[in-house]
Amino acid sequence: MKIIKSRKKIGDILFENLTMIFALLVVCLVFYIAYIMFTDSEESRSRFGFGFIFSSEWDPVKEEFGALPFIYGTIVSSFLALVISLPVSIGVAVFLSEIVHKSVRSPVSFLIEILAAIPSIIYGFWGIYVLAPYMRSSVQPLLESVFGFLPFFNGAMYGTGLLTASIILSIMITPIISAITRDVLKAIPVSQREAAYALGATRWEAIKMALLNARSGILGGAVLGLGRALGETMAVTMVIGNKAQIKASLFEPAYSMASVIANEFAEASGNLHISSLIEIGFILFGVTFIVNTLARLLIYGMTRKA
């Protein structure tokens, strides 16, 4: 104890403080961004109040602004993306960490991770020129013929729309979730697996045990993926249809918070318009914050039970 204390020289103290300053800097930045968005949205907040969150009207000419269609579009597209991506990502991770031989593992991991490096505008154009026509000619008619009795899967088919945006997002977040899940699975001690086999577990049972032990890490990966989906702008705006409306059908065009900011901010000239867009930014900040907090609580609850 004494030895350690005596080695703590001025350099160490300075270094500790320096790292602390860096950490505080990031925290301050987050609060500063929130503060600026809050103050700059003053005009819109005082004009519309809480009604802003519940109004579906978005008309820059008549200066009527409401955020509900954007909140809806962002949350639904992101959660749908997570629902599509999570099983795929876990499958990929299990395959890579538990099943496949080492010589195949690296190239496959590399290819999946390279998905994360593709710029989102490329996803956007791929979505509009490749995925959307395919959705329109094959996927949407199939969904309607099977699930057409549900309001979510019938109506006009454009190829673009909420569902297509969710699929693009799910592809974009798969590398993040699968990479984290794979690392978490790898971190489980070999001895546990050996013990499971020694007790007569089948391979599936051993994997199930590993997945159960890794669940908090997997959820953490899912939260990161969800965060990316909530904030994604370019790829979404290319395929979502950019219409501020709330329709039951997932085939219909919708809009997202990040997209409307990107689309309208540069050309917005009215103060109320700008202020409303900033308030949408603030709400997006809030939504991301709430989603992350809920997910952390969920993880905390699960790890405590384990």
Partner: protein
């Protein structure tokens, strides 16, 4: 251990000091120096060509232009953070008043080139250019006309067999001068449009879905059969899109071309107000294409820095006199001579 910490500290210190130093040198602005402009994306290609050519003539003319959008251009010139702004639509009275009073100066509008909006479409089996009336276009965008073989469209395209299919409407979702010109035209030709939707860079379209940018709209129109959309003329030319002939105010169906754009400006030049802020959509004249507009450079009359003021004035004079040929090469319609003279008179007002 101690050594490593010291090295990290040193590195951090060096990084910090070098970045701070960089900042300091940036903030010191030489008298004169670089000229900054910001604004519309639409004229960016021709402006950058002009800056490049003019720099060959005047070695001091280092002009930096950021195409951040017309709204941003108006905001920045109002704040006085740029030497000139650029916008596809003229500033409103309110915006002018705000800029003038904030800077104790007088803003002037200088038209530079003419741009236009074309109606593009995707109807399988129809390769020729279709004819569209203002009533048909506004009806489609209001959602009152929903089928391609609607009499309002079929009547003007007698030799074609238009399909009994739903029209899929697409529009520009990002705020743009293109949308402003298009909705300005619709507001002039259709009273319902004017009262229900209005004219602006962002409007609430009653029907359809939005694409981001010219490329986004084009992507939607290309992949959605039986769709319609609107894009910038130059963009349509460069990408070989099909576009419609539009009936002008004198009942002629006119295909957009550099000539029919300049014609629309020329026919309207008689009524040009002294401040040159004029909409030329639905212009009179048999050969005028009806969906076109000027794009403007916005600048304060009294330039406080004589070095920079002199360069900008010289540049604008050169651009209006000599720039037309570069504009044409890039697909922008040059100003008709009458308007050019009025614009030059405005440039001559710039003092320093």
């Amino acid at each position: 251990m101690k050594g490593r910490a010291a090295i990290v500290m040193l590195a951090a210190f060096l990084m910090c000091s070098s970045s701070c130093g960089g900042k300091r040198s940036l903030s010191v602005r030489k008298p004169g120096g670089q000229i900054n402009g910001a604004g519309a994306t639409f004229p960016y290609p021709v402006y950058s060509k002009w800056f490049y050519e003019y720099a060959k003539i005047n070695k001091d003319a280092k002009i930096n232009y950021q195409s951040i959008g017309s709204g941003g251009g108006i905001r920045q010139i109002t704040e006085g953070t740029v030497d000139f702004g650029a916008s596809d639509s003229p500033m409103s009275n309110e915006e002018i008043q705000k800029a003038d009073s904030k800077n104790g100066n007088k803003i002037i509008h200088i038209p530079t080139v003419i741009g236009s909006v074309v109606i593009t479409y995707n109807i399988p089996g129809i390769d020729k250019s279709i004819n569209l009336t203002p009533e048909a276009i506004s009806g489609i965008y209001l959602g009152n006309i929903t089928k391609w073989n609607d009499p309002a469209i079929q009547r003007e395209n007698a030799e074609m067999n238009l399909p009994d299919k739903d029209i899929i409407v697409t529009y520009r979702t990002d705020g743009s001068g293109t949308t402003f010109v298009f909705t300005d035209f619709l507001g002039k030709v259709n009273a319902e449009w004017k009262s229900r939707v209005g004219s602006a860079k962002d409007v609430k379209f009653p029907v359809g879905q939005g694409g981001k940018g010219n490329e986004g709209v084009t992507g939607l129109v290309e992949q959605l059969e039986y769709s319609i959309g609107y894009v910038e003329f130059i963009y349509a030319i460069q990408n070989n899109l099909k576009y419609a002939s539009v009936k002008n105010s004198e009942g002629e169906f006119i295909s957009p071309s550099l000539e029919s754009l300049t014609m629309a400006a020329e026919q309207s030049s008689g009524e040009m107000p002294p401040d040159l802020r004029q909409s030329i959509t639905n212009a009179k004249g048999k050969d005028s294409y009806p969906i076109s507009s000027y794009t403007y450079i916005l600048i304060y009359e009294n330039q406080r820095d004589s070095f920079r003021g002199k360069i900008i004035k010289g540049f604008l004079q050169w651009a209006l006199n000599e720039g037309g040929k570069y504009a044409k090469d890039l697909g922008y319609a040059p100003l008709p001579s009458g308007v050019r003279e009025k614009a030059l008179e405005k440039v001559n007002l710039i003092s320093f």
